[in-house]
Symmetry: C2
């Protein structure tokens, strides 16, 4: 499983064998089942995750108490609750497995050790993180001002593999509609 991370990082930057070993041993492999919480809102998120297989979703509770999905993330993505992780503030989002998932986890403290051991590693992670932030914004912006049917079609275009792997209700929550509305839209297709 750690190989997936090494392969991913090597796409951005060469890593010596020693560096690879440091990274591999610093991350802890975990398996989650659909619905498992990797992190619960209300706490400070002190872990960074790398998804090796499966789909993860970032969730939050809206003002009416309904659970909705802010983002889907899949293999070859780092994820955490960034503002909480960086600023040590309480997070209002949770991290949940949207289907069975293999994940590598590292604590903030261990990550900082890695930053000291591998020159330029922080910059590498920061760069990947920033790119991901921009992607998230871009995807979300595309939904703005579109009706639910258009949002659903956009979603299928942008993230076709997610549709097949996660429960429909999660997608409805992501698109900001009820499962009933989504069902209605799908009937037409």
């Amino acid at each position: 499983m750690p190989n997936r991370l090494i392969t991913f990082l090597q796409q951005h930057r060469f890593l010596t064998t020693d560096e690879q070993t440091l990274i591999t041993t610093a991350f802890e492999p975990r398996h989650y089942k659909e619905g498992d919480q990797l992190f619960k809102a209300g706490h400070i998120c002190r872990e960074l995750f790398f998804i090796c297989d499966g789909v993860i979703r970032i969730t939050a509770t809206n003002q009416k108490g309904a659970e909705l999905t802010h983002f889907f993330l899949k293999e070859d993505s780092f994820t955490t609750i960034l503002y909480s992780f960086n600023n040590e503030t309480v997070a209002d989002e949770s991290i949940q497995a949207a289907c069975n998932a293999d994940v590598l986890a590292i604590s903030k403290s261990k990550l900082q050790v890695l930053y000291g051991q591998i020159a330029g590693f922080k910059e590498l992670i920061d760069q990947i993180t920033q790119q991901k932030l921009m992607d998230k914004i871009k995807i979300r912006n595309a939904y703005l001002g579109e009706d639910s049917e258009t949002r659903y079609h956009l979603f299928m275009q942008q993230q076709p593999d997610i549709v097949r792997r996660v429960p429909l209700k999660d997608i409805a929550g992501y698109l900001g509609i009820t499962p009933q509305s989504l069902s209605r839209i799908r009937k037409k297709y």
Copy 2:
């Protein structure tokens, strides 16, 4: 006008008099009137802006051809079309003055010269940029899964000063509703 930028930067990091001069001379002061375009979608955005006074909005055209607002930005904010600026790709967003605005502009090439002249300046800008990206996502996420009335109230809470300074139709576009609906909601309040 450049003083506003120096004051802002000093909140994050000390700057010597020499560094201040370098920065001040590198940025070009400009004035825009409501509706003026700072940057037009369809091109590569090669400028970074710092807003000294006024409100700027990031706009895009949706699939039906309607112009909508992705974000509002005000004094003491840097803004550009980041993915376009970083990756030299064509931008699908424009930058427009939402009211009369004083802005400092710097080209990508001049900025890179500054990065070379001032140690740690790139890291400073990157840090500010990343924080802004997180803020944008946080603000947008808050609107997800809320009805238009709730979104309007959230907007007034989060960005009360914007409401007073920009045309209503821009706010409607930002909230993903028509000016008529917004008018209806305001009548209730």
